[in-house]
């Protein structure tokens, strides 16, 4: 896996993510969010997990981003006025980041480079989903159904 691609994708992803976190306009933030997730998907491709990458794009860019955008539209009147910035969070974030980086660098005994790996085909994943992971799959199905119904119930017009 080429370092060029890695650097490019990393820069893209992190920049987009940072923009998503800090841009004053919610819409731009949402779009950058989608972009950063495309970047994450690209990472997955780079790491040889194509299926996951596709699912990532599919779910986040296709569905979640659209959902966010729709929510922004429905709460439009509240979007314009700026809610300000909570600076206390920055300190915490920096602390956590420092901690994480320290931990990562401290733990040296990790595989230096990736062993060559046979690409994980969709067929294998599907078979795994249907054999070893069938119960998680069912649970996720139930969860999604519940989430769907719950979301519908939440946004129903309450009768007055």
């Amino acid at each position: 896996m080429s370092s060029v691609a890695f650097i490019v994708i990393a820069i893209l992803t992190l920049a987009a993510a940072l923009a998503a976190a800090t841009l004053p306009k919610l819409i731009h933030a949402a779009l950058c969010f989608a972009l950063s997730f495309v970047g994450v998907a690209a990472f997955y491709f780079l790491l040889g997990a194509e299926f996951v990458g596709l699912v990532q794009i599919f779910v986040y860019v296709g569905a979640v981003a659209v959902l966010i955008v729709f929510t922004i539209l429905l709460t439009r009147h509240d979007v314009e006025k700026d809610h300000g910035f909570n600076w206390s969070g920055v300190a915490v974030t920096l602390a956590v980041f420092a901690g994480l980086i320290w931990a990562v660098l401290k733990s040296g005994n990790l595989a230096p480079t990736a062993a060559p790996v046979a690409p994980l085909t969709v067929k294998q994943i599907g078979e795994l989903l249907m054999t070893d992971y069938v119960w998680p799959l069912q649970c996720v199905g139930v969860l999604l159904t519940a989430a769907l119904i719950g979301a519908l119930v939440l946004v129903l017009e309450e009768k007055r």
Binding site: H28, L54, V55, I57, V61, A63, V66, L73, P119, V122
Partner: protein, 395 residues
């Protein structure tokens, strides 16, 4: 000889690549990708030009007119003239618009359309980007169209654009489910998400005449129709062109676009149309396979583009025939009919498979589909009352 003509483009690409054989492999990859992309762009831009003029002429015939016939022979150069006109038009950007978003929207939408075109097998060994799970890629890319439409609507900061964008997103999201679920049966039956595998699975003929295209199985036929209708919606074609209904909201999310950006939207719409048709051909119409055994001497890509042309003609035909559908009707149709039918198709495919993929299976799945269809129509008619018209998605 036949093989030569069939593989001519593949061989040509190999020749060109052999020139950079010595270079590091990343260069080779880049070159081959570039070749693919250029081929795609050339072919489909030409096709776009042809299709635009073709559409206008066919619509004219349907409406008992002559259509463009001045520029060039039979008006074949009409698109060139249109292109020039578009290019030299002034590019207006509204003052209050969100400049960046407004600028990015058409690029993104066109780019995604081209990307979607990349995974379709156009002929034997002629898949530009043969990735495992290409189907998924196709839909993943296609699903980003909504974001770009939204960008267009929001960016141009205009009431009509916003309404159009919201309508577009609403109906696209609604119709993406049937669109994808109607693909499931095919994927289940073939057992692969790779377009080439799916096309390969549709080779061969029963009794030497009936090709093994999935459209010739009951579930396949129904799934194909559902897929095609959803494709109409996804590419915002009549009768589902509510988002850009000129008569209600000037041109929907394209209202504030002019000149080349507008042309880009136009191009994106056509590319979307091509992409959906190509996917439909790959999934249901046997890809580049010939309809009859003795016709196989015709090169595969020729068959693909012939089928593409037929589907485009159907698109145009429908546009010339049907009036626009109301928004709430569109949504109801999606959620109350298309989605259940799509799921029924999945089950029908399972029946077909477990009954041995023979006549018994066909009968079973047919019976099941008919059953579901009856039930659905009964249910919908029961619930139908002709309420006064409401703009639920445009308040």
């Amino acid at each position: 000889m036949r093989g030569f003509i069939d593989q001519i483009f593949v061989n040509a690409k190999q020749q060109i690549l052999s020139l950079v054989a010595g270079a590091p492999d990343w260069l080779g990859q880049i070159v081959s990708s570039l070749l693919n992309i250029t081929a795609l762009l050339v072919v489909f831009l030409t096709l776009f030009a042809l299709a635009s003029v073709w559409e206008r002429k066919i619509l004219a015939r349907i409406q008992n007119r002559l259509g463009p016939n001045r520029v060039g022979p039979f008006g074949l150069l009409q698109p060139a003239a249109d292109g020039i006109k578009m290019l030299i038009k002034e590019d207006i950007v509204p003052a209050r618009a969100d400049k960046v978003v407004h600028f990015l929207a058409p690029i993104l939408i066109a780019a995604t359309a081209v990307l979607a075109l990349g995974v379709i097998p156009y002929g034997r060994n002629m898949t530009p980007f043969a990735i495992d799970g290409g189907i998924l890629f196709f839909f993943a890319v296609g699903s980003t169209t909504e974001v770009s439409v939204f960008m267009a609507g929001w960016g141009s900061n205009n009431k009509f654009s916003m309404l159009g964008a919201m309508r577009a997103i609403a109906q696209m999201v609604s119709y993406e489910l049937p669109l994808i679920i109607t693909v499931l049966p095919v994927v289940m039956v073939v057992g692969s998400l790779t377009p080439d595998a799916i096309v390969a699975a549709q080779g061969g003929y029963s009794f030497g005449v009936l090709p093994h295209w999935f459209v010739f199985t009951p579930w396949g036929a129904v799934a194909f129709i559902l897929f095609f209708v959803s494709g109409l919606v996804e590419s915002n074609r009549t009768p589902f062109d509510v988002p850009e209904g000129e008569s209600e909201i000037v041109a929907g999310h394209m209202t504030e676009y002019s000149g080349f950006k507008y042309a880009t939207f136009f191009l994106a719409e056509y590319f979307g149309m091509f992409a959906v048709s190509g996917m439909a051909i790959t999934l249901f119409l046997g890809g580049w396979h010939a309809p009859l055994p003795f016709l196989e001497f015709v090169p595969s890509y020729a068959w693909f583009f012939a089928k593409l042309g037929v589907l485009i003609f159907v698109f145009i035909w429908i546009r010339g025939t049907l009036p626009r559908i109301r928004v709430d009707q569109v949504m109801n149709f999606a959620w109350k009919f298309m989605l259940p039918m799509a799921f029924a198709c999945v089950i029908a495919a399972a029946l077909w498979h477990y009954q041995g993929r023979r006549w018994a299976g066909a009968l079973w799945s047919l019976g099941w589909l008919v059953l579901v269809y009856m039930a659905l129509t009964r249910f919908l008619d029961a619930g139908r009352k002709f309420a006064p018209r409401t703009y639920r998605y445009a308040e």
